[in-house]
Amino acid sequence: MSVSEVTLDRLARNQNAVVRRIGGDREFRRRLLAMGLVPGEQVTLTAVAPLGDPLELTVKGYRLSLRKEEARLVIVEPV
């Protein structure tokens, strides 16, 4: 991971970032790719659930929710 890259769960609220890589097993990666989390795509952390997990993201103009443990597998670069 280069200096400017962080995992998706580390973004601040309303912070924008660009997806760099997706870790995890093959099926998980396919699932996220299908949902539009493609490397190069912009993603915003929109909200956090009342109990602190999961996260609400905006990607490709729609809302997607991921748990922090899954967001940790997505490497992004804040912009």
Binding site: I22, G24, R26, E27, F28, R29, R30, R31, L32, L33, A34, M35, G36, V38, P39, G40, E41, A47, V48, A49, P50, L51, G52, D53, P54, E56, K60, G61, Y62, R63, L64, S65, L66, R67, E70
Partner: protein, 575 residues
């Protein structure tokens, strides 16, 4: 995905040339396997295999043999210099680029999307402080709709079948010269009772599916999962598991069907196995009766403790199941779209209510009808004494013999008598029947049956229609209760004269003088043991026969062990 090319023939989706070349190769190889060519569009299948879909890969290799494996490996090798490990990313990326280009030509969108009504609703509904109270309030409404609002209709169906409909059948049989015969008893007490056992769930399920359709079609269900997931995930479940658990406090049957909102089969089954531990409302009359007899000063506390015990057992069993039967199935990743809010359509809501309820009636009738007839037969067959078929006292029937044979199983729990094991046996039909069976087995004269005044067919029809009108009125009056206002005082139910003393003496005798402990063990057993036949039928409908048996046997064993712990543990502590 190929749908794009099919729907818009003028704008075919083309991948980069090296990928297209491999797709052609693969499609040709796959096309040589008739079983695959018949089942799948070949180009689509080739894309899925290159992306690494494990399920399709296994299927293609088993049907196509080494040729498919070799062709796929060769294609991957030729593509490796271009895309390395990221072939799947490249495929998805190229698809999205195509969609994006197409949308760019057809749509103009503002650079910064405006704050929509949907966003505003979300700011309140998933708010840090308001999110959970709003969620709990909505769950309360769903619970009340499936219980209080439907109760008058359930009573109406019950009254119509046991009153006028049974009367008509009896009248028809009398006309055919079969009045008072065993045929009449079979039809009225076996068949009509069994059909009634199915029909009384129709209003409950219609109400549940109404609530579910509103929650799902409006888009709120995804938010409910979002709000509750942290808590439910800690228990190894999914945010959406919370709703079935809440509905379970009303009735396990709609609760098992409510697991349909969960996306992964693992989560559906795991939730469905835990739902029956939530103490359903049919078990309450049993608690009230026994607690009032043995713990008159602390009845409320005992009942409350039972509800908590059910929740605690569900948590423990959930942990055990995840470490045993579900060990190889890790929780599905939580990848959930939060769709924009939409107004549900009347048509969509009604279609879901109707189709899902009709499916229950079709699937559950067999088990329920068969069980009702078996129980009727057991009660009808005399094994001792002077009784004739369909006219024998309970204690001389085959039912008593079966209950007596099963009684030793419960001896270590302090209630190894045929009277109690018989009540538990009929509890499989419906939990609230435990109370009336205890009345029968302890041979307490039941309340005098009301003298039946003969009615005409027309009067019956009027009575049925009037019953429906008053049921609707009661349901409407129950509506304010949905938001927590109760207009009517709850009805007080008292045990029949003499039953208390008989039950107390029975428990004292079967437990060697530890009546109160045995009663507590009995209550815990009723809380936890095998769900009623309708819940079992629902489990088979939703999860298949194998999981139905896991539920039947598993819960019996759990109930037996916990009741043993209560009785023997209590005795050790000197209770």
């Amino acid at each position: 995905m190929t749908a794009v090319t099919l729907a818009a023939p003028g704008a075919a989706l083309r991948y980069a040339p090296p990928i297209e070349a491999e797709l052609d190769h693969l499609a040709a190889t796959l096309g040589a396997v008739p079983a695959l060519a018949e089942r799948y569009p070949l180009r689509w299948l080739a894309v899925q295999l290159l992306e690494g879909d494990e399920q399709l890969l296994a299927e293609a290799e088993s049907l196509g043999g080494p040729a498919v494996t070799a062709a796929l490996a060769a294609s991957r090798e030729r593509l490796a210099p271009h895309y390395g490990e990221d072939l799947d990313v490249a495929l998805v990326d190229q698809r999205y680029r195509f969609v994006h280009a197409l949308a760019g030509q057809a749509l103009t969108r503002p650079a910064a999307p405006p704050l929509t009504l949907s966003d505003r609703i979300d700011q309140v509904v998933t708010h840090r402080w308001l999110g959970i109270p709003i969620f709990l309030a909505l769950m309360w409404v769903v619970f009340k709709i499936t219980t209080d609002v439907t109760a008058p209709f359930v009573d109406w169906i019950d009254a119509t079948l046991s009153g006028p409909v049974s009367g008509w059948v009896a009248a028809l049989l009398s006309a055919a010269g079969l009045g008072g015969s065993w045929v009449e008893a079979l039809l009225v007490d076996g068949v009509i009772a069994g059909v009634g056992g199915v029909l009384v769930f129709v209003p409950v399920l219609l109400a549940l599916y109404f609530a579910l359709a509103l929650l799902e079609d409006s888009g709120y269900m995804a938010r409910a999962a979002f709000v509750m997931d942290r808590l439910m995930h800690a228990l190894g479940l999914h945010g959406k598991s919370f709703l079935p658990m809440i509905v379970g406090f009303g009735c396990s049957v709609p609760a098992i069907y409510a697991t349909r909102t969960l996306d992964s089969r693992r989560d559906r089954i795991l939730t469905g196995l835990l739902v029956p531990f939530m103490s359903c409302s049919a078990r309450l009359p049993v608690y009230v009766l026994i607690a009032a007899i043995f713990f008159p000063a602390h009845a409320g506390l005992v009942i409350f403790a039972l509800y908590l015990t059910g929740i605690a057992v569900a948590i423990v069993i959930g942990m055990l199941l995840r470490r045993t039967l579900f060990r190889k199935q890790p929780p599905a990743p939580f990848v959930l779209e939060l769709p924009p809010y939409r107004l549900p359509t009347l048509r969509g809501v009604w279609r879901q209510m109707w189709e899902r309820t009709a499916a229950f009636v079709r699937k559950a009738t067999t088990i329920i009808l068969a069980t009702s007839i078996v129980v009727w037969l057991l009660l009808a067959v005399p094994v001792r004494g002077e009784g004739r078929f369909a006219d024998t006292p309970v204690e001389q029937s085959a039912f008593a013999a079966v209950a007596g044979a099963a009684a030793p199983i419960f001896a270590p729990l302090g209630f190894g008598a045929w009277e109690t094991s018989g009540a538990l046996l009929t509890g499989f039909v419906a939990k609230e029947v435990v109370v009336s069976t205890l009345g029968q087995t302890y041979a307490v004269a039941a309340a005098e049956e009301e003298a039946v005044t003969p009615t005409t067919f027309g009067e019956d029809l009027l009575g049925i229609a009037g019953g429906l009108v008053s049921a609707t009125g009661e349901a409407l009056r129950a509506l304010p209760g949905v938001v927590g206002i109760t207009l009517e005082a709850p009805e007080e139910e008292t045990a029949p004269e003499g039953l208390a003393a008989a039950v107390q003496a029975g428990f004292e005798a079967s437990s060697g003088g530890h009546g109160a402990l045995a009663a507590l063990a009995f209550l815990v057993f009723v809380l936890l043991y095998t769900p009623c036949m309708t819940a079992v039928a629902a489990a088979r409908h939703e999860f298949g026969s194998r999981w139905m048996w896991v539920s039947i046997v598993g819960q019996f064993v759990v109930a037996w062990l916990v009741a043993l712990l209560v009785f023997q543990g209590g005795r050790l502590l000197g209770g």
